[in-house]
């Protein structure tokens, strides 16, 4: 069955950039697109273990009457036929249930708060919860539309990083774009990364497929981020550790998304990799 991406559309200039980013993602990876044009300021997503209520800000309801035609024309110009999602079930009359059986979802860095807050270094709490509980990776788009021509996987050796790497390899195969890998040995010996790769059975694939391997050590991770190509889609495992560990050591994902203006594909802890 075709893979599907869910996009919550807002009919504003920022929403247009986000949509273009989604369209590019779908076109490159041959994914079909489902657009949800919100009719109310909130919706509910029921995941396997969590019910996430997303409260949209009022900018999502701007110019609703032209939203569908605007989105369709943007997609059609780029040769994509989007499907539009109409909610079937309602938890309350103004509270539609949005299905969660998608393969990807596109979010701005913040989905619920005002546009003014959107920028680097801020992920909205709802997007966090979506990433934490979803079975699909979440695409965080850059503020302005930019095509990416390669993929960079951030690999730290954890369970989640293995999954992110698998997705990266999979996406690179489908898109035909080269894959780079960025590792930062932080508090581990140099061989740790290789051990982890070996244990996950990904070593051969990495050797065959990865174009550049940025092995970094020393200093902070921020010192090395300039190495990452400017036109790369970042693939990062997110929220792999417990709350306490994140609290003590900080999350790598947070650092990356704070510093990198690129589009980021976040692979959450519940993501199921069903690719080849």
């Amino acid at each position: 069955m075709e893979e599907r991406l869910l996009h919550v559309f807002r009919n504003t200039p920022l929403g247009r950039e986000t949509l273009l980013q989604s369209i590019y993602f779908c076109k490159t990876l041959d994914i079909s697109m489902q657009i949800y044009v919100p009719q109310a300021t909130q919706f509910l997503m029921y995941f396997d273990h969590d019910a996430v209520q997303v409260d949209l800000d009022s900018s999502y309801l701007i110019a609703q009457d032209t939203a569908v035609s605007h989105a369709t024309s943007l997609a059609n110009e780029r040769g994509l036929k989007p499907g539009f999602l109409t909610p079937k079930n309602f938890t309350a009359s103004q509270l539609p249930d949005i299905p969660s059986n998608f393969n990807y979802m596109c979010c701005p860095r913040s989905i619920s708060d005002l546009t003014s807050k959107i920028g680097l270094g801020y992920i909205g709490p709802k997007v966090r919860r979506i990433v934490k509980s979803s079975t699909f990776p979440v695409l965080l788009t850059s503020a302005a539309y930019k095509e990416w021509k390669s993929l960079t996987v951030f690999y730290g050796g954890s369970e989640n990083a293995n999954r992110a790497l698998s997705w990266g390899l999979h996406l690179s195969r489908i898109s035909g774009f080269p894959l780079d890998m960025f590792t930062f040995a932080e508090g581990h010996s140099e061989g740790y990364i290789d051990q982890q790769l070996d244990a996950a059975g990904l070593k051969n694939q990495v050797q065959d497929h990865v174009r550049h391997w940025f092995r970094q050590s020393g200093g902070k991770i921020e010192d090395h981020l300039n190495k990452v190509p400017h036109d790369a889609l970042l693939v990062v495992g997110a929220f792999g550790h417990g709350l306490i560990k994140d609290f003590l050591f900080g999350s790598k994902m947070e650092t990356i998304q704070t510093w990198m203006p690129n589009s980021i594909l976040l692979v959450g802890p519940n993501c199921v990799f069903r690719g080849a």
Binding site: D48, E159, N162, R163, V272
Partner: protein, 232 residues
């Protein structure tokens, strides 16, 4: 032994998505260990018994007998297996069939009797003489014989035998078709009768060629292309 979701799905003969959902709903006791869900096979068996679900062991017993039947290879191979015999003497149709059955290779004595019975039974139904002096005797239903692959036994009669053929001509050549399964049998019969539509080939057969001549002719016809590829 720990089984993954995919293995459980194939054992229960259910789609993977269903098992995923059952895990989520807590209907099947699978445990999450290092990112993947697993269940021990004893547990799965116990669980399946409790719920009266069929379990297939990973060996392919489940892939019923049908899968074991090999594809029909070719007329050439079948004729090679069945052999070619010359100068059978017989006064009438039944005697000719009996004589032919006596020559068929790869059969036990019991099987020979059964095959003969079946062939005669089939002739009573309608003659297998297809005209031009050729007959294709075959049993109506597959007799219980132990043949791995189908075979065609070609018998040349020393004198023409009346066979109630469609065109009334007596028969000089009999090609006895035997096989274990109906599917192979039908494929073989349809291919052979297709080749026999060719008058040149019929003439060639009636001229009592040597074994090697027949086989090389068949091989040539089969290599020309699949008979089904041509249209009449």
């Amino acid at each position: 032994m720990a089984l993954t979701i995919n293995e459980v799905a194939s054992r229960l003969n259910l789609p993977v998505e269903t098992i995923h959902r059952w895990v989520r709903q807590g209907k099947i006791p699978m445990r999450r260990t290092s990112g993947t869900y697993t269940i021990r096979s004893e547990m799965l068996e116990r669980w399946a018994n409790e719920h009266k679900l069929e379990i297939q062991n990973q060996s392919d017993d489940g892939l019923s007998a049908q899968a074991k039947i090999p594809e029909f290879d070719s007329i050439y191979e079948a004729m090679k297996r069945g052999g070619v015999f010359y100068d059978l003497c017989a006064g009438d149709r039944d005697a000719a069939l009996k004589a032919a059955v006596a020559h068929i290779p790869n059969l036990s004595q019991d099987e020979r009797e059964r095959v003969c019975e079946k062939l005669l039974e089939r002739e009573l139904l309608a003659s297998t003489g297809i005209g031009h002096g050729i007959a294709l005797p075959h049993p109506r239903s597959q007799p219980d014989i132990d043949l791995a692959m189908p075979q065609i036994t070609t018998c040349f009669l020393s004198n023409a035998v009346p066979f109630d053929a469609v065109d009334g001509k007596p028969v000089r050549v009999m090609m006895v078709l035997l096989s274990h399964s109906t599917k192979q049998h039908l494929t073989m019969l349809s291919k052979l009768s297709f080749y026999l539509r060719d008058p040149d080939f019929r003439a060639h057969l009636l001229s009592q060629p040597s074994i090697s001549e027949i086989l090389s002719r068949i091989a040539a016809m089969e290599s020309e292309g699949q008979p089904a590829g041509k249209s009449e």
